[in-house]
Structure formats: C-alpha cells, structure tokens
Point group: C2
Chain length 228, copies 2
DNA sequence: GCGGCTACTTGAACACGTTCAAAAGATCGG
DNA sequence: CCGATCTTTTGAACGTGTTCAAGTAGCCGC
C-alpha cells in the first residue's frame, strides 16, 4: 500500500519547503511588528505566496502562533540542559529552569499576551490544558520531572509523584504574572522567582513534619480526585 | 458652569434608555446563541438601532461582555449576603461564597470561555488585573474581606491583611478550572471547592505552629515585594 | 423663533480572518 | 507520452468587528 517514494502521506519536499517558508516569514513578522499588526495578507505577500496557500498549511493564524510556542519550548528545553546536568540542589535547579524560560521568552514579551489570550480559551486547541496540546504539555512537565528527579529534594513519595505537574502549574502562574509585568527588565517577575522558589523549597521540606503530613495527604488526594 | 437640568455630564435620559436597550438585547442574544455567534449587526437589528449607535455607547463587543461580567458580580454579591450574615465558621463561609459563584455563573458556562479569553490578555481593559477593572476587582476582593472579617478564623495579622486578595486569587483559580470543566453538572469543580476549602482552612491554622511561622512571613514578604 | 451647541444616530466603507471552487503542477502506471 | 490522480496554489468573495463623516434631534441663551 505504501510506496517507497517520498509520497507516503501526501506530503512533498516542495510542500514542506513552502510550509517552512510561511512559518518563518510569519514568525519574523510577529517579532518585528507584533501579532496583532501582522495580517495574513502581509505574511502571504512577504513569503511570496497566496493567502489561501498559507491556510493550506496552517488552519488559522493561531496555528502559526502555536508553532511559535513550540519553538519557544524547544529552546527552553535546550537552555535548561546545562543547568539540569550541573546542579544537584533543588533551589538553583528550579530557579534556573524558571529564569531560563524568562530569558528565552523575553523577546516575545509583547506578543506573549496574545498567546496567553488564546491559550485561556478552553475551546481553543492551543490551550495548555487541551487534549491537542497534550504532547507539548507532557514535554514541558517532563522538564520539571527532571528538576525533581535529579535533585537532592526529599519529600514523601505520593507528593513527589505529583510534584512535576505542580511545578508546571507554578510555571503557568509565573508566566501569567510575566505577561502582565510591565516593569523594567522584568524586575518584578525576577523578584517573584527569586523569592517564590526558596519559599516552595521551605514548604516542601515542611511536609516531613508530622503535623504537616496530613495536609500533604489531603493535597495529594485533592489533586487525584479532580484529575479528569 | 453646570446647569441644573439633567444634562450635567453629557448624558440624556433618552441616551441612557438606548444604552440599556442595547445592553439588554446583547445580553439576551449572548445567552440565547452564545457570544461568538452573536454579531454586532444582529444586536443592532434586534434592538432596532444602527450598528454605529451600539458603538457610540459601547466601545467594542468586548465591552458588552464586560457589562455582562459586572452583572454577574452584582448577582454574586447579592447571593452571598445571607451566607455572610448567618454563618461564622470560616469553611462554610468560604465554600458558600465559591459555590454561590458557581450557581450564579452556571447559565453562562459556555460563554465564559470567551470572557476568560479576553480577560487573560494584559492589554485588554477587561483583564481582571488591569487598571480599568480596578473597581470591579476591588468589589470582588471586598467579598473575601467580609468572608475573613466575619469569621472565627485566627491567623497572624500580617497574613490576615493579605488574605482577602489571596482568596480572590483562589477564586480566579477556581474560575479557570471551571471554564475548562466539561463534567456533568460541574461535578469536578464542585469537588475542587469541597476539598480545597478545608485544605485551605487547615493550612491557615498551621500558620500558628512556630516552625511554620517563618514560611508565612516569607510568603507575606513575597506578596508585598511583587505588588506594583 | 433662531442660531448655535451638544447629544445622538445613521449606514456606507474599511480591514482583517477565513473559505472555496477552480486552476496548475507533480507523479506514476501503462 | 497520455491520462488519471493527488498535491499544491490561486485569488475572489464572504462575514465580521470597527470607524467615521455626515445627518438629525433636543435644548439653551437671546
């Protein structure tokens, strides 16, 4: 059934080339003039193709943004590698990962608002909670799994199992804060990270105190009960 | 300078009537067919005015939604009164307030996604974090101030001062969860409230344990340092 | 009543995201 | 090389949110 040529799933080398041309052009325009001011017509014009052609490869303008986001995540994963490889203490591991996100995403700060906007819509396939973005989310959570696993952190096993997802949620919170942060050089978001991470660390270490243990159990139970 | 007629700030009785007609028509159509499928033309048609007229009173379609949200908050404040008047224990007070929100907002669940979408955009004046919505946010936080003040809860004074805002944040989290909740009769969101509130209560009571006190101080310090 | 002012109202026009029927290329068995 | 079939490309057309120049209506001082 499957031929041995390049045409196995209806994709051609030429087609891939056009797809990438459209994406790179879109990303450039997004960066140069923002998402809102970049029109599909401008993207098509600049790429030297027709509007309809852009829609042949990307279902909507938002899908082009999704591609932007995927790129970001990929860059984040790369930026995080040396930190995860060379550091064992939990606090610098987590801080490093969060700060790396900030550095990677900084050039897109203005445009990030628009991303968050569509991401918050539950019906959008771009929502970080949607089924469609499950792979991207899993990859993102995996970074935090590494943060936990490679660290010297000691927490109860049940909590440890949920921790990567919780830290991912923490990052979502940081991103939400970052999107709204208008201070110079993102000073406030940096403060948030610098102070929140040690706080999280203290909290996690508290879970070994007997009187606190019950709360932890409750928390884990809560998380499990509301998972879909 | 100011005349004694009704024209004191450039608003006429007739104008107010038109404004309300447009709003009520819009809200009806939003409810009947959803936000996305309701066009500005349809609103104008149904209200018997021109499209431009709708824009004379409401700067954008989103502003009509904002009015929807204001209505919701007003209804929530009313629904919450008997609970706050007749109950002293912290857990039922907070649960009651959160459940009341769920009940008030339930008819608009489908349409709430769209609201959240624009709310997450930091440049939108509709964002719950924006300066424009400061009054609405303050009113909303005030409900949680009442939850705390009228309750038997005992927490350190510095934390107590920040608590209303923190509980408001908790509600934002619940709303975010609710928006994405597709379970029957919002079962998952109800579970979240029923289990999270006692957990919050336990956490707050823990703050009086000496070993935990330091973490609380850190938390309060963090909050204060990142406020604008 | 009149001139002028402000509040209000209109609807055509614009810009943008998106769709789609049709054309153009590419590939391949024969 | 032909015809068939699939992939790619086109650009006009549509629907929608939004703008704006122009018009209408009410009101006040005179």
């Amino acid at each position: 059934m499957i031929t041995l040529t390049s045409v196995t799933d209806g994709a051609t080398a030429k087609g891939e080339q056009t797809r990438e041309l459209i994406l790179s052009t879109a990303l450039r325009l997004f960066r140069e003039q923002g998402y809102g001011k970049t029109t599909m017509r401008a993207i098509a014009n600049e790429a030297g193709v027709s509007v309809g052609n852009a829609y042949y490869y990307y279902g909507s303008k938002e899908h082009l943004m999704q591609a932007y986001y995927d790129l970001l995540q990929e860059q984040h994963r790369e930026a995080v590698e040396p930190i995860l490889a060379g550091e064992r203490a939990f606090v610098p591991r987590l801080s490093g990962v969060l700060r790396a996100w900030l550095d990677v995403a900084a050039p897109y700060h203005e445009f990030a608002g628009t991303f968050f906007k569509t991401a918050a819509d539950p019906r959008s396939p771009l929502s970080p909670f949607s089924a469609d973005s499950q792979p991207a989310r899993a990859a993102s959570i995996d970074v935090f799994r590494q943060v936990v696993e490679g660290s010297d952190l000691k927490v109860p096993a049940d909590l440890r199992a949920e921790l990567p997802e919780l830290l991912w949620l923490l990052q979502m919170g940081v991103v939400l804060f970052w999107v709204h942060d208008q201070s110079d050089d993102l000073r406030r978001t940096r403060t948030l990270i610098d102070r929140a991470v040690p706080l999280v660390d203290r909290l996690l270490r508290l879970t070994r105190i007997p009187g606190v243990r019950g709360v932890t159990t409750d928390l884990v139970g809560l998380i499990r009960s509301i998972k879909p």
